[in-house]
């Protein structure tokens, strides 16, 4: 086992990554609770936004801030557009069907990105934020402002979303729809509008996550599209319901993944972290459920 000092830098990188996973996970949970859709295109729309931002900034000379806004706007528009177009048609279908439909969107976007931003000829792209150039040192560990923002965004959004769902009128409507869409509609809640708000919010988060991950991880369609897996693990642990649990699981995924890096025997297996955590989480929860049911039956 390496000395503790060797683990310190990995705590910083793990927390930053966990923060973005949390941000993504919160977006997925909110949308699922409001619409019953597990939005598997979350990573792909973020990637699309980030690649468009890159093109604008590097090819068209657009100012950075405008490119970032476009990234978020594109992700929000695509997500909202999908929600408005397919949401009503799929509203009464099984959640499984709804989730599979988003895989269709993922594949379309992924194919388009591979076509438009080809990697032939050794082309490599990057999207860096100005916050990469500043930061501070903790001991011997360099911390960039982007890492701080990534973790901060995860924390702030988790708290804000939990408060929003609990205290706001729209949040209450979303929670009601999570329980029963039909009854909520009969109570006079504008279901379509509430769903549209959830799609839009999820799209905005996808854009922000895409931007941060393009900087922290890589500006690459494949990487960003499938990075949703790590957030999905956190969402599964939270059983697609609990915002705080999603946050905690996401941080654990990011942290554990990076902390395994200096351990020679485990370093090549660290990419299994999301799956292992999801599996353990599901096993523990299903065990509790079996015990609870047994008690009820007794």
């Amino acid at each position: 086992m390496p000395p503790w000092a060797e683990f310190e830098p990995f705590i910083v990188s793990g927390l930053a990554l966990g923060g973005v996973y949390a941000l993504s996970g919160v977006g997925l949970v909110v949308l699922y609770r409001a619409t019953g859709v597990l939005y598997l295109a979350f990573g792909a729309v973020g990637a699309l936004g980030a690649l468009i931002a890159w093109s604008l900034i590097t090819k068209a000379g657009t100012p950075g801030w405008a490119g970032w806004l476009v990234c978020v706007a594109v992700a929000a528009a695509v997500t909202l557009g999908y929600g408005l177009l397919f949401g009503p048609a799929l509203a009464k279908r099984d959640p499984l069907v709804k989730a599979v439909a988003t895989i269709g969107l993922t594949l379309v976007l992924y194919g388009a990105m591979d076509l438009l931003w080809t990697t032939s000829g050794g082309q490599a792209r990057s999207l860096t934020l100005p916050t990469d150039n500043g930061g501070f040192t903790v001991g011997t560990v360099q911390v960039t402002w982007t890492q701080v923002i990534a973790l901060g965004a995860g924390v702030v959004l988790t708290v804000a979303t939990a408060a929003f769902l609990r205290y706001s009128k729209l949040g209450t409507a979303m929670r009601a729809m999570a329980n029963d869409r039909e009854i909520t509609a009969t109570l006079g809640v504008p279901v379509r509008r509430v769903e549209a708000a959830a799609w839009l919010g999820c799209g905005v988060l996808a854009g922000v996550a895409g931007l941060l991950l393009a900087d922290l991880v890589a500006l690459d369609a494949t990487t960003l599209t499938f990075l949703v897996i790590s957030s999905l693990a956190a969402v599964l642990v939270a059983r697609l319901r609990s915002i705080p649990l999603t946050f905690a699981a996401a941080i654990v995924v990011g942290l554990l993944h990076d902390l395994l890096t200096p351990i020679v025997a485990l370093t090549n297996y660290r990419d299994m972290t999301p799956f292992v955590i999801a599996a353990i989480g599901l096993l523990v929860m299903s065990r509790h459920r079996v015990i609870a049911i047994s008690r009820e039956e007794a």
Partner: protein
């Protein structure tokens, strides 16, 4: 109850998707790797001015189109999301188009059939059979595939084909009937490690993509480090890399302040690691960073910027096109400009390789006096000896050897204000790598021809 069932089904779906996506990711990583492994890389983003050079010098009868019976040649290239090597056969085709417009081969135009594959062994085997049985090709020129050499080597040997290709898989270099114009991942990594050792680093960290074949590649750098009595740490990373910060920190910690970190990744993956190092202020925490050929791209140099000036040293298998003013280089640029509309990457090592393979093939075909058959064409390919391609450090020879590493001397380039510039001229790859030693022993003077 229904809701519980839905929830469980959703969770099961999500778990299944996670595994599925991991599978996708893994397959894409293997593609990345190949790219990684042996991916030749671009060195420039656009087609520079070819000046006043005329393309007519590519043929023997300027301005006279060839109208005879076509000479059918074939090529197989990987073309899948994230990894496309089609620029190489496309550039070879551009060269052939130029030759066809200027006399052809004794009046015969060359027709190049290009088959693409997606790293599917059955598909690759079928491609080879289609080229031979349906398209009736008499030679293979421009193959560039992640696993084609491994799959089809036996088939080509059985039929008596002698392939001129850009190699990736070990069989592209270790068999009697494949000769590449590039070095491939192992010898390119050798070159990068060799440069670092020449700078007297105290330790080498060699990091590459975690895909099949890494052991074969790692054996070269390990042998060089051992010969230099320098410790080497071998690392592998799952690709695509999702935790570049961790990877960069680990590499720097392992190398130490007087050590070297050598990368063998595709340009996008290498860039991810190098940028992470830059963001964390790690670029100066080791004596030098090195990279195998794929990093030799201005895309990468531009993305890194001036912070990496004289810190990153990259192996280059082919003559750097920037600032090189030779007849071959000018002809290459002129052909690319006039005929290379399908070459997406523009000037760079991909198109240089296609050009080089085509000019070797044309040189061989011009030596044939009788009909163009499988026997005559492949005998001519095999007979190529000491041919000056103008693109390599040394003369190129096919020859009747049990293995072929005809390109075994490299340049080293370095990132300099967004461009790759030459840091070291032609240097033979060390014979401390037993494969290089074996080839030089077999090929004799041909292996060392300047």
């Amino acid at each position: 109850m229904r809701r519980h069932i839905s929830m469980r089904r959703m969770i099961l779906l999500a778990a299944a998707l996670a595994l599925g996506a991991a599978g996708c990711s893994s397959s894409s990583s293997s593609s990345s790797t190949t790219g990684t492994a042996s991916t030749p890389a671009s060195s420039s983003t656009g087609v520079a001015s070819a000046g006043t050079v005329s393309t007519s010098s590519c043929g023997t009868k300027p301005g006279v189109a060839a109208t005879g019976t076509p000479i059918p040649l074939g090529a197989i290239a990987t073309n899948q999301p994230g990894t496309s090597f089609t620029d190489i056969p496309n550039m070879a085709k551009a060269y052939f188009d130029c030759v066809n417009a200027n006399g052809g081969i004794n009046g015969h135009p060359i027709k190049l059939y290009i088959a693409t594959e997606q790293t599917n062994p059955a598909q690759i085997a079928a491609d080879a059979r289609q080229l031979v049985q349906t398209d009736k090709v008499v030679g293979i020129v421009g193959n560039t595939s992640i696993i084609e050499c491994s799959i089809d080597s036996g088939y080509w040997q059985k039929l008596g084909f002698y392939i001129i290709d850009s190699g990736i898989a070990p069989e592209c270099y270790s068999t009697p009937n494949s000769a590449a114009v590039n070095m491939g991942p192992r010898y390119s990594s050798d070159g990068a490690v060799q440069y670092a050792l020449a700078q007297h680093v105290s330790k080498v960290v060699f990091d590459q993509a975690n895909v099949p074949g890494t052991g074969y590649i790692a054996a070269g750098p390990a042998a060089l480090a051992k010969a230099a009595n320098t410790p080497i740490v071998q690392l592998t990373e799952n690709v695509p890399i999702t935790d570049a910060n961790s990877v960069a920190i680990k590499e720097v910690n392992d190398a130490g302040p007087n050590g070297a970190v050598i990368l063998n990744f595709t340009p996008p993956q290498a860039l991810v690691i190098l940028q992470a190092a830059q963001k964390l202020g790690l670029e100066g925490r080791v004596k030098l960073w090195g990279c195998s050929t794929p990093c030799n791209t201005d895309f990468l140099a531009q993305s890194l910027g001036s912070k990496w000036n004289s810190k990153l040293f990259v192996n280059a298998e082919l003559t750097p096109p920037d600032g090189t003013n030779t007849p071959s280089m000018n002809l290459y640029k002129a052909i690319l400009k006039q005929y290379g509309t399908s070459v997406q990457g523009g000037i760079g090592s991909f198109s240089q390789m296609g050009f080089t393979e085509a000019e070797i093939a044309v040189h061989a075909l011009q030596s044939i006096t009788g009909p163009y058959t499988v026997q005559s064409v492949n005998a001519a390919f095999k007979a190529v000896k000491d041919f000056n391609t103008g693109m390599l450090c040394q003369l190129w020879t096919y020859g009747d050897y049990p293995l072929h590493i005809p390109n075994n001397a490299d340049y080293t380039v370095t990132a300099n204000n967004g461009k790759m510039t030459t840091a070291q001229g032609c240097t033979p790859i060390s014979a401390a790598d037993p494969q290089i030693a074996q080839y030089r022993s077999a090929a004799g003077t041909a292996a060392n021809a300047p």
